[in-house]
């Protein structure tokens, strides 16, 4: 029979903060990995950070369009709930725990980064920024 050692219990206790990462589907992980590989080209890249991603997501940026200063302009602040396009059309919740198909299509993810970074920041997002934002969102 299997005996639980104190060490095993300790691991269980430590695991929750990392649970989100392990809950990533292979398709989601492949997308993150690709952006990580691109980000590593910059020697200053220190690895993915959900905290930086959260800050980036909720920041009011400059350089983009005045009616879309941040990610929350369309996605809202409650990411388990829907957002709204300028046209009024609803946007599916960002949280993969609510919409499991989120961040499973690499071309779709890149298409929206390209469009939205342009609208919100007036420039493309760096691979490191994409890694951070994805890491934050994939934990939701």
């Amino acid at each position: 029979m299997v005996r639980k050692s104190p060490g095993f219990a300790a691991i269980l206790f430590v695991v929750p903060p990392l649970a989100a990462a392990s809950a990533m589907s292979p398709a989601q992980k492949a997308i993150v990995d690709r952006y990580v590989a691109a980000a590593r080209v910059d020697p200053g890249f220190s690895g993915p950070s959900a905290e930086r991603g959260r800050a980036f997501f909720f920041t009011r940026h400059a350089g983009g369009k005045s009616d879309t200063p941040g990610c929350t302009s369309c996605h809202g602040s409650i990411l388990a709930g829907p957002g709204q396009m300028r046209s009024g059309k609803p946007i599916e919740p960002m949280a993969p725990s609510v919409v499991p198909t989120r961040f499973t299509d690499a071309a779709n993810v890149e298409k929206w980064f390209k469009r939205n970074c342009g609208d919100v920041l007036g420039r493309e997002c760096s691979p490191a920024e994409k890694v951070d934002v994805l890491t934050f969102l994939l934990g939701l």
């Binding site: 300028r86 046209s87 059309k89 390209k114 342009g118």
Partner: protein, 164 residues
């Protein structure tokens, strides 16, 4: 003076009678819905799915050539997808064999409207009958007057019957 361009007051009741004599629930145009799944997905990602028959091919060409500034938003697609969308819209446009000429009535041959609400046909059907006021839009939950399906529930399926 300028007032002479207005209808004489006395004519108003007569005009109202003429308008009321027309069927109240006249059938709107029936257009073909978008059948290509890629076109349907991309063209409905941000707004309702407009049937291709609502604009002439030259308008769709102008729109698909400038997706980076799509009514103020970046709606950029990769080259292959852009081409597929452009080809489909051209083949099914209002002035294609599959289209309805009705929609283009009164539109000059050189005019390239990029908004359906700029079509003389649209204006005749809506503005002139005062159907689209700010109060109406608010009541229907439409954020702009081109949000057809706020009032025409089956607009994406190409059915634009009057609903009131």
């Amino acid at each position: 003076m300028t007032k002479t361009s207005f209808l004489p007051i006395a004519a108003a009741p007569a005009l109202a009678a003429v308008l009321l004599a027309a069927p109240l629930a006249a059938d709107g145009p029936r257009l073909s819905p978008i059948k290509d799944p890629v076109v349907a997905k991309e063209c409905s990602a941000c707004h309702m799915l407009y049937p291709a028959g609502l604009l002439p091919a030259r308008s769709w060409a102008a729109i698909t050539a400038n997706l980076t500034d799509h009514f103020g938003d970046n709606a950029e697609l990769d080259a292959a997808t852009t081409q597929r969308v452009a080809d489909y819209l051209a083949a099914n446009a209002a002035d294609s064999a599959k289209g309805s000429g009705k929609v283009l009535r009164g539109l000059g041959p050189a005019a390239v409207p990029t908004r359906i609400t700029e079509l003389p046909w649209w204006t005749r059907k809506h503005d002139k009958k005062d159907r689209i006021t700010l109060a109406t839009l608010a009541r229907k939950g439409a954020k702009f007057k081109g949000d057809c399906k706020a009032c025409h529930a089956d607009a994406e399926r190409g059915i634009f019957d009057d609903d009131e």
